[in-house]
Symmetry: C2
Subunit: 245 residues, 2 copies
């Protein structure tokens, strides 16, 4: 058996998310079926982050054990062949030791959230960003977001269906930057609660619009109540950008 | 009658191109039908560049005369409403004098061509860039492209169906830049022959791959024969980026 570390890029739009579900096609099923076509083996592919339905990945990391003799380059090429026409691609592949685990060995996960701040509907970026018509102040959003950095009880930003044992997490870094009509939010943390990033974004937006004060993020955090935070931002703006080991 | 200057963004994938055709939906027809829905008027919309089937626009410019009293903001909002669900958006709208003509008043058109230089298939950028697996040297492509700058007979880069009276054009500027795995080619000229940009890109690629020498662009230009140039690059990588007046 050889273990392979796969770096995956995907457009989340047609999928029910990373994880296998009964109600539709998942990225995991897509990759597992491509492996089956390549070498005939029925495998389980483990990923660093279980992205939600509609969430994209620029560099999701997964691992899989394959019995058939093959080198990393051939695995990448064969999987890309069998993944077609699904919008999933293996952008890197390497052999990894048995001690490597895509999920448990990861020390940091980086997400990026794309907002396009304009009145006109999206065309080329449709399904790949959240369009917000009201003018947002990215500097104010950045300032407000800094109140979340560090080790906190993130109950207010946790989805009801979150299965984590503890609501405590460390947010390593969050940066809000404007590039023309686009606002990018870059988030770094060892791990996240379910919907944590989308709930943070959804709470930052009213601050950016001026409907809530800069101090609101701290108020919501202290409340430890999901009802106090903003609505979850749509999945289409979220990208799993990088996984650190 | 009021004349409006409209700046349009569109994803070229579902369209037969800018211009009305019998064989499918054009961007022009889409915009003209949205105007009809808005004010009941049957109009002709004139654009700066007649983009081909599959070619995108970040800022196509068009003008239209409307009898109904409306301000530029309302025209933009109404057209964006009626353009849905087509991937076409009015990103700016302003009143223009009767002397303004989107096509004839334009002094420069800027195009951008996106190549993604990697073996893995495209996912998020599918239909929005040309993927090339063999490694390209962007610096060499840039150097080769400089031989085309200036006033020349571009017969070698002209489509057979080109209707222009003269094969002579001025290429103001061409720049090839690499950003990670992406290679962008920015082209500026007052006007172009049919398929000129795509034929130039298709001739630069063999130079970037090292299959042709840097001097090849000059050789092809001098030959004044379409048969000497490379194949046209696919439409999906081409964007009308800006029109100067």
């Amino acid at each position: 058996m050889k273990r392979f570390k796969l770096t995956l890029e995907y457009d989340g739009q047609p999928f029910v998310g990373w994880q296998r579900q009964k109600n539709g096609m998942s990225v995991q099923q897509c990759v597992e079926e491509a492996i089956k076509k390549f070498c005939g083996e029925t495998v389980v592919v483990h990923a660093a982050g279980r992205t939600d339905s509609g969430v994209h990945a620029l560099a999701q990391v997964a691992h899989v054990d394959i019995a058939q003799t093959a080198d990393a380059f051939r695995v990448k090429e064969a999987l890309n062949h069998h993944l077609k026409p699904n919008p999933v691609a293996v952008i890197a592949s390497e052999e990894a030791p048995d001690t490597f685990h895509a999920r448990f060995s990861a020390t940091e996960r980086r997400y990026r959230y794309r907002i396009i701040n304009r009145r006109a509907p999206l065309t080329l970026d449709s399904g790949q960003a959240w369009r917000i018509g009201r003018t947002l102040d990215a500097d104010t959003m950045h300032e407000a977001a800094q109140r979340l950095v560090g080790f906190h009880d993130f109950t207010s930003f946790r989805a009801a269906e979150c299965q984590a044992n503890s609501p405590e997490r460390t947010l390593t870094d969050i940066r809000v930057s404007r590039y023309g009509e686009e606002i990018d939010i870059a988030v770094r943390a060892p791990s996240y609660l379910h919907h944590q990033v989308r709930n943070i974004i959804g709470t930052l937006v009213p601050v950016g619009e001026g409907r809530k004060p800069v101090s609101w993020l701290a108020t919501v955090l202290r409340a430890k109540s999901r009802a106090k935070a903003g609505a979850a931002a749509p999945a289409c703006g979220l990208y799993l950008e990088k996984v650190i080991y």
